[in-house]
């Protein structure tokens, strides 16, 4: 009972602080914008089973951020360019050298990070905390980046709305899509570029190490109970919003890092959801067997 009491006090403190502090409002908004991105693109990553590729894209982003910092440019712009470059490189590797896919993606992953660390280390007057790139810090998202994140969300939603049929077809059955005359390679590379944009959105919130968790867990939980890709997008967006907002609220009082708190919430619910989904499948099978 005292635990519940303490939690409710912390929640009311958070709500009161949210009302007073602009940086918290910005953080909450950043979480919601990131949730929209992970909700729209996460289901593609989960059903297409390209989480490893998304991981490669996420980690190679550090290279772009490091180079941008070194030359005094906006690290977020460097992140977007690096993410798109990595997505195209990884996509072309997968399309042309399928046999060595894992090794080559691993190489892009590691080389990107190495480039980033070298450039960050050599950046004159370097003051940025490397940890905030790796683990993110939602409380430090500048308000001008909210517009940037909203712009990336708009790109994602527009692209998925306009090309939903093509994206779904290539995600579902590449060979059949090719037989219907679709430019499968182009659509596939577009899918990876959209994943890259989502990765940049999420890096703001949870950092590049934890991006994959927020990209996949809400969609995977949705996939346990929802049986259409569009439905998964809606539920994953709602779940992402819940994890980022609740994670922010829970971490605020005891001054915990917000990103890992969000991921632990998502991970905990994923485990529960997987167990429940397995139980429901077994129960349905048993009911069917006894009814026949």
């Amino acid at each position: 009972m005292s635990g519940w009491w303490r939690t409710s006090i912390e929640m009311s403190e958070f709500l009161s602080a949210l009302h007073q502090h602009a940086f918290l409002q910005t953080a909450l908004l950043a979480g919601l914008l990131a949730s929209l991105g992970c909700g729209v693109m996460g289901p593609f990553v989960v059903v297409k089973r390209i989480a490893f590729m998304a991981g490669g894209i996420a980690h190679s982003v550090l290279g772009g951020m490091g180079v941008a910092l070194y030359y005094g440019a906006d690290p977020l712009l460097g992140a977007v360019l690096a993410a798109i470059f990595a997505a195209l490189l990884i996509g072309i590797i997968r399309l042309r050298w399928e046999a060595q896919e894992d090794t080559l993606i691993g190489a892009v992953w590691a080389i990107g990070m190495a480039v980033g660390i070298l450039f960050i280390a050599k950046t004159p007057g370097y003051a940025t905390d490397l940890m905030s790139f790796l683990f993110g810090n939602i409380l430090l998202v500048p308000s001008r980046e909210i517009w940037f994140m909203a712009g990336l969300d708009l790109i994602l939603v527009l692209a998925v709305t306009l090309f939903y049929r093509q994206l779904l077809a290539v995600t579902f059955d590449e060979e059949f899509a090719r037989l219907r005359g679709l430019p499968v390679d182009v659509v596939y590379l577009m899918l990876l570029c959209l994943v890259a944009v989502t990765v940049v959105l999420l890096i703001q919130v949870v950092g590049l190490i934890l991006v994959i968790a927020l990209l996949t867990l809400p969609a995977a939980i949705a996939g346990h109970f929802i049986h259409s890709l569009a439905g998964m997008m809606v539920v994953a967006t709602l779940l992402g919003s819940l994890f980022t907002s609740l994670g922010l609220a829970i971490s605020y009082g005891p001054d915990l890092p917000a990103g890992p708190t969000m991921i632990l919430l998502a991970g905990g619910l994923y485990v529960l959801s997987a167990l429940l989904s397995r139980h429901l499948v077994r129960r349905r099978a048993l009911r069917r067997a006894t009814a026949s």
């Binding site: 289901p43 077809a169 579902f172 219907r180 049986h227 259409s228 890709l229």
Partner: protein, 250 residues
């Protein structure tokens, strides 16, 4: 039962001339000639690794010939793809994909119409017609993961038919279904042969020859003949060993 369109009529639907193809050092097809007329129902039989699936992939334009040429409806295979309905042996999608039967079948309408946006009413109507034709209209809302082997086969056939193709190509369409359903599928194909040219790959030479107009036997090279000419000697030559021929009816 022989299909009414078993005799060749008009120009070729599929023309293969002096075709050779190899994967690296392994020669899969060698100096192969095959002509399938519009309206024919041809069964392609042969041993495993005899080149059947490779020939299908070449006809579908998924592979490029290394020597010789292929024409489908008078054009290069890549340009004629949308006129071909294809039913694969192994579906290229996971069975747990979150998609319903009607969402899957409507993908057969891709490639025509507008580049942007969603499917139109005409596409949804065509899905209904295709599902009814394969007697699977009641499955429209079902998830693909809940279908039996026979039901999935019918749905794959509906996906191949939904864009009104001129040629139907099927790779081992009865490999994963029971014998009774197999008979139903062949009856359905015989009916579709009234308006479509059909090329079907099968391992069951005896069963196939009851339905098709012509059997093409493939083991790297090709021997083409009518169903009446399927003899023990030919099967022995094709499969490269002693075989026992058993006549059976289903």
């Amino acid at each position: 039962m022989k299909s009414p369109a078993s005799e060749p009529q008009g120009g070729p639907a599929i023309l293969v001339e002096d075709l050779s193809f190899s994967y690296g050092e392994s020669l899969v097809l060698e100096h192969l000639d095959l002509q399938i007329a519009v309206g024919e129902f041809v069964g392609l039989v042969g041993p495993n690794a005899g080149g059947k699936s490779t020939l299908l992939r070449l006809i579908l334009g998924l592979l490029e010939p290394q020597a010789g040429r292929i024409q489908v409806l008078g054009r290069a295979p890549r340009l004629a793809r949308r006129q071909i309905g294809y039913v694969p042996q192994f579906p290229g999608f996971p069975r747990d994909f979150p998609i319903s039967v009607e969402q899957m079948v409507i993908m057969g309408r891709l490639g025509g119409g507008a580049l942007f946006g969603w499917y139109r009413a005409a596409d949804r109507a065509a899905v209904q017609v295709a599902l009814e034709e394969v007697e699977a209209a009641d499955l429209a809302k079902r998830r693909i993961g809940t279908l039996s082997g026979g039901q999935l086969q019918r749905v794959l056939l509906a996906r191949a038919l939904v864009a009104a193709p001129e040629i139907l190509v099927l790779d081992e369409p009865t490999a994963n279904i029971d014998q009774r359903t197999e008979g139903d599928v062949f009856e359905l194909l015989a009916a579709l042969n009234q308006r479509l040219t059909i090329l079907l790959v099968s391992h069951d030479i005896a069963f196939v020859s009851q339905y098709v107009g012509r059997v093409a036997c493939l083991n790297r090279t090709l021997v083409c003949h009518g169903t009446s000419a399927v003899t023990a000697e030919l099967i022995q030559q094709l499969y490269g060993g002693h075989v026992r021929m058993v006549a059976h009816q289903h």
